[in-house]
């Protein structure tokens, strides 16, 4: 029992990332009808927003301390981050410590801007072109974005630690009546899961309970009619693209402490999140979220040693295997609407 619970928990953090990226992909596909291969790159840019903020906060002034000397006899140099001189050493240090959560506020405007520029500048011109062209141009864009990030930040992963308070693990099992040390779970992964649950809930609430969301949902169902009613649906869809970019970006920001950001993390997640979208059903938001968590948990179960002993290598291919079975037997995915991309 505790084993099963542990694997479910292990699957949750990856599942949350899959769900968030797939949610963004589905938002774009459902509104604009575009298959966005650059979505993984948006996830990566989000993670590098966290890195950037951390670097900005660590910009320091260097002062010389004449009382101490280093081993060459020169006066020792002391680095003081500018934030610490502004807010005092203690507040400054904790601001630096909390740079990853703070990066959420830093990332939202950046991701929204990136999303709007992408949609208005490039993808707008591809609505009338075949799906293959959309895939190819966004794939090209993904390569370009990845290389730009590589040119700026280098090819090595950049460690981006979580705040001090959330480092390390805690004994989750004792809270729910298991014996000690049965279920040890890292704090940050719990935070990540909670965060992604909030984001997902926020997106759904936004679409369900606001007028804007209602118009967008109407546009998803029948774009032309909404346009005929005198509503500028293109503008709203652009905003939805920006929101989808923000969702992917925030998923990346918070993922930075789990997996040190590197330039190819977007490509690594991209293929899997496409698979998730297809399993959930193209254009179905609940399907994307459900499939994201389901596949994440399935992957965690497949990497248990007991399972691997029976089917060697199953942990590497389980997601693809499930996807192939789903595509072949249930073309519109788990929760896809009838008639959407059902060729």
């Amino acid at each position: 029992m505790d084993q099963i619970l542990l694997q479910i928990l292990n699957g949750l953090d990856k599942g949350s990332a899959y769900a968030l990226i797939a949610l963004g992909l589905t938002l774009i596909f459902g509104t604009l009808g575009v298959v966005n291969f650059a979505h993984g790159a948006l996830f990566m840019i989000g993670a590098f927003c966290a890195v950037t903020l951390q670097r900005i906060l660590n910009i320091s002034t260097i002062t010389e301390d004449p009382t101490k000397t280093d081993f060459l006899g020169n006066p020792a140099k002391i680095k003081t981050p500018i934030v610490e001189t502004w807010f005092g050493p203690e507040v400054g240090a904790s601001i630096i410590d909390w740079s990853v959560p703070l990066a959420i506020f830093f990332a939202i405007p950046i991701m929204a801007a990136v999303g709007i520029i992408m949609e208005r500048g490039l993808i707008k011109h591809f609505y009338k072109r075949p799906h293959a062209d959309q895939i190819l141009v966004t794939f090209g864009l993904a390569i370009v974005l990845q290389e730009v990030i590589k040119a700026i930040y280098g090819a090595n992963p950049i460690p981006t630690p979580a705040p001090e308070a959330f480092r390390g693990s805690f004994d989750f099992g004792t809270y729910i009546g298991f014996e000690a040390n049965a279920i040890i779970y890292p704090y940050w992964r719990m935070v990540y899961f909670a965060f992604s649950a909030i984001i997902i809930a926020a997106v759904f609430a936004f679409l369900q309970f606001t007028t804007f969301g209602m118009v967008v949902r109407a546009g998803m169902a029948d774009r032309e009619t909404v346009g005929l009613l005198g509503i500028n649906i293109d503008k709203r869809f652009t905003i939805m693209f920006a929101i989808a970019a923000c969702v992917a970006g925030l998923a990346g920001v918070m993922y930075a402490p789990i997996n040190s950001p590197n330039y190819h993390m977007g490509m690594d997640f991209l293929v899997l999140s496409f698979v998730v979208v297809v399993v959930g059903g193209m254009g179905s938001l609940p399907g994307a979220v459900l499939a994201g968590f389901m596949l994440g948990i399935l992957e965690a179960f497949a990497s248990m040693n007991q399972v691997k002993a029976i089917f060697p290598g199953i942990d590497q291919i389980i997601i693809y295997l499930v996807a192939i079975i789903i595509i072949l037997t249930r073309p519109r995915g788990l929760m896809g609407r009838r008639g959407v991309m059902e060729e």
Partner: protein
Amino acid sequence: MLKLNKSDTLLFVIVAAMVLLAPFILNPFPQGSSLAQMFNAGYPDLMQRFVIFGILVIGFNILFGLTGYLSFGHAAFLGIGSYSAVWMFKLLSMNVIPALILSMIVAGIFSLAIGYVSLRRSGIYFSILTLAFAQMSYNLAYSVLGNPSSSYNLTNGETGLQVYSNDPQYFASSSAPDTPHLFGLAMSDSSKLDIGSWQFTFNNGYYMSGILMLVAFYISIRIFRSPFGMMLRAVKSNQQRMNYTGLNTKPYTLAAFVISGMYAGLAGGLLSSMDPLAGAERMHWTASGEIVIMAILGGVGTLIGPIVGAGFNEYFKNILSKINDGILHQWLSFLPDGLENFIVGILHYFVGKGWHLTLGLLFMMVIIFLPGGLVEGGQRLAKLFKRKKTEDGSDSNNTPAK
């Protein structure tokens, strides 16, 4: 000639002449000059890549160009072909003939199985299915099948599959070289010709791959012009209508998929024959993406496009990765210093290690502005010239469009 019509014969002859004379054409600058180091491409390694990737993309074009099915997992067949070839080297002998045959057969079997399943769907689903199969092959080759301690170590994981001295090699003869060879003719051997300050290298491996590429090219011309090719084009333009007329298109698309898979297997086998080392990274999905990029760059659905695309991609990859800041400074030394440093500072990100960025941008440009690839660009230029010439009243002798 060879049952080709006039313009196809001309095209084939031009390509054949270019392949056979490539060591001359690609070495326009004398040995040792600074231009030679940068722009000469007439050395065996690069020439081999030109023709081998040419084969690969010609095959991909038969699938994507004719039927419109975008496979995002074609590199899997390349990797499978490479592994099969190395296994033949390990088990039989270093002769390349059984290796190439087996790599085509195994890639054919895999593409039959994968194609049979994937072709049940079309459009984006087909792309994702092929992608999923390719990633499965890659992950398996990297983990379970590549674990040296497991009992089914087929791929040797990260180290890559290679020939060791304690391999059985049942048919190896002591007189043959211990590198891949064609009945004693080592693939890595070259003969050199010195004319003045020029040096031309004629490599055995290059010529074997080049001749195979010509065969592959010939077959692809015949497929393009055959009723079978017409059927595939019909699938691209309207598959539904084909089905409504009571025609089952599946065997045709599957045949195209298997043919292109076997082309990829042959290319993989050739890669292993040039350098008997096969690694799983050849199967990664970004490698599949690169095949797509080459096909698009050249021009999808045209005969010559794949060769242009493969050559262009490999050549610019080679040049761009060689240029560094020092060379840029040298080239731009005529400019005032401040401007020079500024331009070099910008260009720095596009050359050397940044060549991916340049190719990515180029790829996007081609898709946005030239959906027909470089071939379409060439045709537009040719048309432009033609119009100008007729306006001048001179003869309208068209240069053969690439």
